[in-house]
Amino acid sequence: MVKILYFGRLSERVGTQEEHIDLPDNIRTITELKAWLNTYHQLDGILDHDTVKTMIDQSLNHKNSSIIGAVEIGFLPPVGGG
């Protein structure tokens, strides 16, 4: 069971800011997870944009890291506060 977080417009597109999913055993990297979520939620590839960053267990992550053992994974579109 892994917690998946969506921020900004991604949360609106998926319909939730947070979900808990039992991933199939063959989903071991960020790239595989994106592909799986794309089909699961019908996302038209919005997670694949260069501007979407990922976060694994509260650490920002820009490469195709392993997600084995991860408790929380987040998808982050471009940010801006202020």
Binding site: M55, G80, G81
Partner: protein, 146 residues
């Protein structure tokens, strides 16, 4: 210090406390961002953050500012949640011995907050909702420091 608050805050009260706490500082610069009234086109603003990475990132920007400029103290308060017109969104307070450092640090931190801080901003108006991302000008402003 960094505060991420899901309830309204009082900018004037913070300015007074901060300036009293830093009487070795001759110069206090500040920036207050508030939800702008755009003739009714904007009704509310909603901000999301992530407890861990948002504060971490702002803390790193504060550390950079302290390395780069001569400053005495910094307070950054940022709202999350739903805000109405006129409500404060962000307050940056900078105390320094001289005004040049105070101005530059305030400017530097606002550029960070506008383009890199982990906030997601949704504007709701007459014609529905819109997620606001940084403008080209914001990215350009932020490049001045690199």
């Amino acid at each position: 210090m960094i505060l991420i608050s899901d309830t309204p805050f009082d900018p004037g009260e913070h300015l007074n406390q901060f300036s009293k706490a830093n009487i070795s500082a001759g110069a206090i610069s500040s920036f207050l961002g508030q939800v702008r009234n755009e003739n009714g086109t904007v009704k509310a603003l909603e901000l999301q953050s992530n407890k861990g990475v948002t504060e971490q990132g702002i803390a790193q920007a504060e550390t950079q500012a302290r390395e780069r400029f001569s400053l005495i103290d910094v307070l950054i308060i940022h709202r999350i949640g739903t805000m109405e017109i006129g409500e404060p969104i962000v307050l940056v307070l900078v105390a320094a011995k001289h005004r040049r450092d105070a101005f530059e640090v305030c400017d530097f931190l606002m550029d960070y907050l506008k383009t890199e801080a982990m906030f997601w901003k949704k504007q709701t108006g007459k014609t529905g909702s819109l997620w606001i991302e940084p403008r080209a000008q914001d990215y350009q402003d932020n490049k001045r420091w690199s």
